[in-house]
């Protein structure tokens, strides 16, 4: 327990420069964006009195030198003030948090599906190495590794919604119906299947390939021979010894790809009109609502930092030899 706490503390310290760096990049991008906050406000509120504008700029510190503005920005970010979204009439932070649950549901489901499908496929391929089943899994994996996720999503819509009529095309819930708790849950699940698969299959393909290679490698280690020699059943060897060790590379990848997956949900959410952060940032880019775009970028990055920490802790549990640097 003590060891874990120490590791967490060290990891948190290491995360600080990264988060700071991300904040600086955000600030620079915001500054490079054409027009400042006051220009946006002026356009939305139709203010054109130069005195009022100058006063607003002074209020927001926009007339200060760049490094003073940066300090101000850092101070705001630390107090969770990411700016104001005029379009929503709400602070950026509130807008994002409101949309967060939908994205988390989509991402976690996609990740779970990717892990289950990928690990299963990789394990099967490693058991049947160099057979038809192995080759088939490899081929399917390289195809999904190369297909654009949004295109998979669209093709699933053609098949499962338009042709077969099994699944709803878009959104997260059916509007205007009352099914009770389980009905609503089922409704969300039906809306969730296609976007989660479209987002997850790419990662499932990666995990299948990595899992296969890593299973084959672990099977060659001495401790597996020891486990067999002491009379363990083949399935016990496979699950208790091989699988547990072979999962480590997959977990490493998962940690590295959380950010990519969050980003991938932008495209998937826009395909399926999923009401999450992805559609939010897409609309924000279209309407040139830069405080919101950068807010999402910063928020997403910090989410990834936190998730990476969680992955590290799982890693430590799976392999007690690993000390967090």
């Amino acid at each position: 327990m003590n060891r874990t706490l120490l590791a967490v503390r060290r990891r948190l310290w290491q995360a600080i420069p990264i988060v700071l760096g991300i904040v600086v990049i955000n600030f620079l991008l915001l500054n490079m964006a054409p027009g400042d906050l006051v220009d946006v406000m002026a356009a939305e509120e139709q203010i054109n009195d130069p005195d009022v504008l100058a006063k607003l700029r002074a209020d927001y510190g926009l007339d200060q030198l760049l490094h003073v503005q940066l300090a101000l920005y850092v101070k705001n970010v630390v107090t969770l003030d990411l700016g104001w979204s005029y379009r929503h009439g709400q602070p950026v932070w509130d807008v994002i948090v409101e949309r967060l649950p939908a994205t988390l549901i989509l991402m976690l489901t996609a990740m779970a599906l990717a892990l289950i499908i990928g690990v299963l496929a990789g394990v099967v391929a490693s058991w049947k190495v160099n057979t038809l089943a192995d080759n088939l899994i490899s081929i399917v994996a390289i195809v999904f590794f190369a297909a654009p996720s949004f295109w998979i999503g669209l093709m699933m819509i053609v098949l499962f919604s338009v042709k077969l009529g099994w699944l709803p095309v878009s959104g997260m819930t059916t509007i205007g119906t009352d099914y009770g708790v389980f009905g609503v849950l089922w409704d969300v699940v039906r809306h969730l299947i296609m976007p989660a698969l479209a987002l997850g299959l790419f990662y499932a393909a990666i995990y299948a390939r990595v899992m296969r290679a890593s299973m084959l490698e672990v099977y060659g280690f001495d401790f597996i021979r020891t486990a067999r020699a002491k009379g363990l059943s083949e399935s016990r060897v496979a699950f208790k010894h091989v699988l547990r060790n072979a999962l480590l590379p997959v977990l490493t990848l998962l940690g590295l790809q959380l950010g990519t997956m969050l980003a991938g949900s932008v495209v998937i959410e826009s395909v399926f009109s999923w009401p999450g952060i992805g559609t939010l940032v897409f609309e924000a880019v279209l309407t040139r609502n830069f405080p919101l775009v950068m807010g999402v970028l910063l928020f997403g990055s910090i989410l990834v930092v936190i998730a990476n920490l969680a992955v590290d802790l799982i890693y430590m549990r799976l392999d007690p030899r690993i000390e967090l640097r």
Binding site: L256, A263, V305
Partner: protein, 280 residues
Amino acid sequence: MGVLAAFWRRYRRNRAALIGLAIVVVVVIMAFSAPWLFPHDPLRIVGPSELWPMQDARFPLGTDSLGRDVAAGIFYGAGTTLLIGLVASLVATIIGVTIGALAGYYGGWWDDALMRFTEIFQTIPNLIFLLALVAVLGPTIENVVLGIGIISWTSIARLVRAEFMSLRDREFVLAGRAMGMSDLRLIATQILPNAIPPVIVLASLIVAGAVLFESALSFLGLSDPNIASWGRLIGEGRLLIRTSWYICAIPGVAILVTVLALNLIGDGLNDAFNPKLRNR
């Protein structure tokens, strides 16, 4: 010449890599023959809208929602796709090699700082970063290429750093140092050439990734509006997904096949550079 021939012999042994190469050659030929086969602008309306493939001999792949020739879009898009993928990968390689070489060669404080810098770019959700970059800088083809390069270099930097760390204390480097070579010269003429093979493999895989990023960006309609691209065809066709789904399906297949071929080439290069690792 002998080295190249030997390399080709080793590459040739991987049949999938040969297929990949053949596909990319076809895509390149498509790109170059586009202006000749389709003299009109691919973004121009040339016929009735929503003609299905094979319905009219003039439009073998049909027409889109506005009556533009899908085949012309695919042929012109081939050039855009490959060019953006290649140049973006080149940008990523230049950034990655520079940062990785400095971190690996100097080590210590430089290494710490540069690796933190790399971690920052690994943490930021890549596609959202790309959207923000292109939105801020403006949706021109140069900015799209630059943006994709900026989100793709981290893996190259890590690889080059590892290579440099393992090479920097070898005898031939020490010999070069004893001869009084400058750091820059040691990096560029002694260590880098030895670190190049894995970089080429990774760069070829980054081309594949860059093609996917470009297609996502133009699918969302946030890429350069004056250029025909496969992702854009899908994005514009998606409103008609219920009736004319071929408008989305055809360019998607083109992207899939091209990315697949690029990945196969990357695997083949890897095998050809490391013949001993082949049977893993």
